[in-house]
């Protein structure tokens, strides 16, 4: 089985203060200086794929690929993924001119083209949300473009006993759905409780990972003309920070007891009564 996990690193938003959220005239925010982190949903997907591939009895027959559409800043993460034993690390670089933030159609075109034309994988894992546009649509659109079935809000996947199918667990409103499904398949990964975080590589693995080459592809390598990427079903016409209406009153006091007393007597006693 060949598995591909599509991921996108994110700026560590909680590092930003109110002042940092400045939007320029081109609707851009300068985040170049902000540390990048794994999107937590993608991180769970990356770990889930490793477990499915390496911890099962068919480990030798499995191949794992980590795929990201990004600039060279993502190479650090792709090498880290080599270190945790991904077989392939691939980056699609579209150059600075192409704005993919609000274009999940183009993102899914790139991913699906890689899978169909080059990777040849039968199983796709992809985080359910994240990315600057927070579009939440990429996984669904990859499935549509490939013409494959799709399962959303996946929280676990293991090989089925006969090993010909997968047993996929997903979350529904107030319920858990377990499905036995054949390949090919797209899984959109949600809140994975069993192992939400990526494993930690040993020092030796880290060093080995650093030496490996990330495969960098351009849209042309995927037979996609630049015009095909600029087509979109939507246009961003405004980007703004919402005003915070509240003025926070900081409670002073010698110690926690005093502050708790003020909180109760001045603010909570009446409100708690309803």
């Amino acid at each position: 089985m060949k598995i591909v996990v599509c991921f996108k690193t994110l700026a560590d938003y909680p590092m930003l203060t109110e002042r940092d959220w400045r939007v320029d005239e081109q609707h851009q925010v300068d985040l170049a200086w902000v540390r990048q982190v794994y999107n937590c949903y993608d991180e769970s997907a990356l770990e889930l794929a490793l477990q499915l591939a390496h911890d099962g009895p068919d480990a030798a027959a499995c191949e794992t690929t980590a795929l990201s559409i990004d600039d060279s800043r993502a190479d650090l993460f792709l090498r880290h993924l080599y270190a945790v034993q991904y077989d392939r690390a691939v980056r699609i670089d579209c150059g600075e001119e192409v704005d993919l933030r609000f274009n999940p159609l183009a993102v899914s075109l790139l991913l699906a083209s890689y899978i169909r034309e080059i990777g040849g994988q039968q199983l796709v894992l992809i985080g359910s949300e994240g990315g600057m546009g927070d579009n939440r649509q990429t996984g669904f659109l990859v499935a549509e473009r490939l013409g494959w079935p799709c399962i959303r809000e996946v929280i676990d996947v293991v090989p089925e006993e006969s090993r010909e199918c997968l047993c996929v667990t997903s979350r529904r409103e107030g319920a858990v759905l377990t499905q036995t499904v054949g390949l090919p398949l797209v899984l959109v990964i949600g809140n994975v409780l069993r192992s939400p975080y990526l494993r930690v590589p040993t020092l030796k693995e880290k060093l080995a990972g650093k030496k490996k080459q990330v495969l960098v592809l351009s849209p042309t390598d995927l037979a996609i003309a630049p015009d095909n990427l600029s087509g979109n079903d939507r246009t961003l016409v405004g980007l703004f920070r919402q005003r915070q209406d509240r003025q926070c009153v900081m409670l002073a006091g010698e110690n926690a007891r005093e502050k708790a007393k003020t909180l109760y007597h001045q603010y909570l006693a009446e409100r708690l009564k309803g």
Partner: protein, 333 residues
């Protein structure tokens, strides 16, 4: 413009309706007709929401495999090819988001999820939705018809009133889709709904709580305050709290009377879940924590020290009130 709301009878239909109703405020004046397409599995619902806008028709669509979106999409594609709507509105849940995206793709239309506001500008549709981890709001113009929108989760709000007027009901029979990739399936009720969604007082606990044992102590505080516990993602993912307690863009969107956020940094995605609290208290050791930006009252201190004191004050006050009430009852006898 002709519009249809795609709803499913399995979920709370009156709440779905309230969310969709709020989205209609923008395009209402431009609508020539509004329909409801109601998906159901075994039996259609008896109660139908009463919208603020008149419904031209309610079309009942039976799906044999409601948990397989491919089967639902197949049905929707067929009805849209007959009805040719300009705009399709979907619910805020996972199914609504998936159907919205995939149907728009199949129909060559435009789509957007988590839509907070829908506007008609120069005869085209524009939507506002949170982006950049709920730190910014984007205004996006949709270019292609049909415009497919999935509404943002609104939290409990007030459900629409129900009516039993089934005069407009029309059952649409469509051939089902053969699904060969699905070999077997089972669905089990999980933790169920927590009481958090409807809570008037919420204690929202973040990673600052540090352990499962400490989380249990928070439960004692919550019980004394008459509050329901909610949690941030790290707390839920460490299994210190159940998944149905998750607050934020991926969990509950709440609007309680009082919310006390303790040991949460205030990431945009989390803030989206408590921003609409009527009174918001934040407790954090870090005075720079972003959570203070949306709080009414802030305390820079250790959450345990503050909350244990508060618990003790409230416990004493409650005991005193109970004693006074008992005395009054006795006097009355």
């Amino acid at each position: 413009m002709k519009a249809a709301m795609v709803m499913h009878a399995d979920a709370d239909i009156l709440l779905q309706a309230a969310e969709l109703n709020s989205l209609l405020a923008g395009p209402a004046d431009h609508l020539d007709s509004l329909e409801m397409w109601l998906l159901y599995h075994e039996k259609p619902p008896e109660n139908i929401p009463r919208f603020a806008y008149p419904l031209a028709a309610i079309r009942l669509l039976q799906v044999d495999a409601p948990d397989v979106p491919e089967a639902v999409l197949h049905v929707l594609q067929q009805i849209q090819s007959n009805r040719k709507m300009d705009m399709l509105l979907f619910c805020s849940d996972g199914l609504g988001q998936e159907l919205c995206t995939r149907l728009a793709y199949r129909l060559g239309g435009s789509s957007a999820l988590t839509v907070e506001r829908c506007l008609v500008v120069d005869a085209t549709i524009a939507v506002e939705r949170p982006v950049y981890g709920n730190n910014l709001m984007a205004r996006i113009r949709l270019e292609l018809r049909p415009y497919c929108l999935s509404v943002a989760k609104k939290g409990k709000g007030s459900p629409l009133e129900a009516t039993r007027d089934t005069a407009f009901f029309e059952t649409v029979n469509l051939p089902p889709l053969q699904i060969d990739w699905l070999k077997a399936w089972a669905i089990e009720v999980d933790e169920g709904e927590s009481a958090l969604a409807a809570a008037e007082i919420v204690l929202a606990v973040g990673n600052g709580v540090q352990s499962r044992e400490n989380m249990q102590k928070m439960q004692v505080v919550a019980d004394t305050l008459g509050a329901e516990i909610g949690a941030s993602r790290p707390v839920v993912m460490s299994a210190w709290s159940d998944m149905n307690r998750l607050i934020g863009m991926s969990g509950h969107i709440l609007s309680p009377r009082i919310c006390i956020a303790a040991g949460v940094s205030g990431a945009g995605v989390f803030r989206g879940g408590i921003r609409n609290s009527r009174f918001l208290v934040a407790i954090n050791t870090d005075k720079q924590a972003a959570i203070f930006e949306i709080a009414d009252v802030g305390i820079v201190d250790d959450l345990f020290a503050v909350l244990f004191e508060l618990e003790s004050i409230v416990r004493k006050a409650t005991a005193q009130n109970d004693a006074v009430a008992a005395q009054e009852r006795q006097n009355g006898d």
